[in-house]
Amino acid sequence: MDIAVETRALRRVYRSRNQEVVALDGVDLRVARGQRYGVLGPNGAGKTTMIKILVTLLLPSSGEARVDGLDVVHQFRELRHRIAMVSGGENVGFGMLKVKEQLWMFSQFYGMPSAPSKRRIGELLERLGLSEAADRRVSALSSGMRQKMNLIRGLITNPRILFLDEPTVALDVGAARDVRDEVRRWMAEDPTRTVILTTHYMMEADELCDRVAIVNRGRIVAEGTPAELKQRVQQNAIVDLQLSPGGRLLDALRAVEGVAAASVTEQDGLDRFSLQLSNDAALGGVMRVVEGSGRQIRGVQKREPTLEDAFVKLVGRGMAEEEQA
């Protein structure tokens, strides 16, 4: 297998005067060339730290990381020609520059000849619907347009490996879809290109990635195709319960016999409990607990498993709950 990214026992510890935070705790990762590889996990799981190390922005505390066969610590100069990074959720850019000017400057930082880079910028602006904004100042762009511009910055240099760190965070549905579509199209242009994408959107990882690593508290807890990961919860029945708001109920539901895992998220003012039931009979016990809580049932739905369910089964609780822990 042709490996694009490989890490061995990668560890990163942030130290301050008062505390020590282990962001990555011995991560072993192998990403084959040509894949769209997702790193999925809650905020604070270590995803961004991993990306920062792989793009030579941050040094690991120990362990080894190679990108395109090059060591990120010692061969970072050669490596930087072959990679690009785009982060989401940032209000970044040289505000006084025009969009096309900022993009051109970055093509120059990568040593590209000026004329072809201008052509490439024009094509990408067109593809992402930003042509009309080409002469607008960066400071005048909306956050969605700015994120598309950032994606173009990552694409103009034709990197062999593109790192996307939460590329659709805080974007509206349309802009997020445009970004995902462009990533697919860019990958389809050349099968040797590789994308490493971090996200905490389960749907995005499921829809976009060939393989996914689920990361929690600095460790990879599972790895596989989205289908393989969902297979892990296939033997369970997945039931969503929409309940009126009320007191704490999650632990009581987890204690019901036959409930393999449970998580809760707030949705439209209601609590949505996702339950993984090892047998249908468990539903009776669940209903009795709900009745006893005094909450009203607003909806019950049996559905196919998702990556979120896989995460809950692997980690023991939902992603939102894990972020608050």
Binding site: L57, L58, S87, E90, V92, G93, L97, W104, Q108, Y110
Partner: protein, 283 residues
């Protein structure tokens, strides 16, 4: 494609970026007025202060020439040092683009040099404006036909290398601070005191005078005055020939560059170790 061509492209783009950032904050006419009035007012405030304090004594003209030539060329340090080191903090804190520049193949040195070059271009304009206006308005003994241009160019080239080296090292060092805005002026302010720009270093307290004598900026100022004013220059080092002053400038510049490289390398590695390149700041 050769590495040199790639780096040259990055350098040109960084220079353009630096120019855009330093000039694009207002209308062109306002920028030109600002560029002319800023150095003139800085120089003439000092001239007026000196005239009031001295009461127009016998040696006034000679000292005014000392003062004005020092202030005029000080703009290289002010613009170059503060502009370049503040630029690093701006790229990280205000524009949040430092991490993307840093992880690009453009060498960080090359980028910073280009980013700061626009500031140095402003400094050239500033120095020329102050010298021309002051020579006419104050009757300074500067004759363009009698200037020792080789000495002026050699000394200024060496001093610029030292200033750029110091500014880069200081700028990367400032990455350690969460609130690094404006520290560039602080750094150039310290250099101002020990550079002999507005007074001879002999008036400094002992330890400061010794430190100043190790700075290339003092020998640069001395060379500038000798090249511009010839025998009428007040000399900080009367026992040294022009060649001796230039040699001292060469040696102190070399030492400064070595020190700056060591500091830059340490600060750069520390920034990567601690994750400071994209640190959230209090900008």
């Amino acid at each position: 494609m050769s590495t040199a061509i790639r780096q040259w492209r990055g350098f040109k783009a960084a220079t353009r970026l630096g120019w855009q950032i330093s000039s694009n904050w207002t209308q062109p006419l306002v920028f030109v007025l600002y560029s002319v009035l800023r150095p003139l007012s800085a120089a003439f405030i000092l001239v007026v202060m000196y005239r009031v304090i001295s009461g127009g004594g016998a040696n006034t003209a000679a000292y005014l020439a000392f003062l004005v030539s020092g202030v005029a060329f000080w703009s290289f340090v002010q613009y170059g040092f503060a502009g370049l080191s503040n630029g690093i903090a701006e790229d990280r804190g205000e524009y949040k683009m430092l991490k993307y520049v840093y992880t690009s193949p453009a060498h960080f040195y090359v980028y910073l040099l280009g980013r700061g070059l626009a500031q140095l271009a402003s400094a050239v304009a500033s120095a020329l404006i102050v010298l021309i206006v002051a020579t006419i308005a104050l009757g300074l003994p500067i004759n363009p036909l009698h200037i020792n241009y080789p000495l002026l160019l050699a000394a200024s080239s060496l001093a610029l290398l030292a200033v750029i080296g110091l500014a880069m090292a200081f700028g990367v060092l400032l990455l350690q601070a969460r609130d690094a805005h404006g520290y560039g002026e602080l750094g150039s302010g310290v250099l101002y005191v020990i550079s002999g720009a507005i007074f001879p270093i002999s008036v400094l307290p002992g330890i400061l005078a010794t430190i100043a004598s190790l700075s290339p900026l003092v020998y640069w100022m001395e060379s500038i005055r000798r090249s511009l004013l010839g025998s009428q220059a007040i000399r900080m080092f009367p026992s040294l020939s022009d060649g001796d002053v230039l040699l001292r400038l060469l040696v102190t510049t070399a030492a400064t560059l070595i020190l700056a490289h060591l500091v830059f390398s340490w600060a750069d590695r520390t920034a990567r170790q601690k994750g400071l390149i994209d640190m959230e700041t209090n900008w």
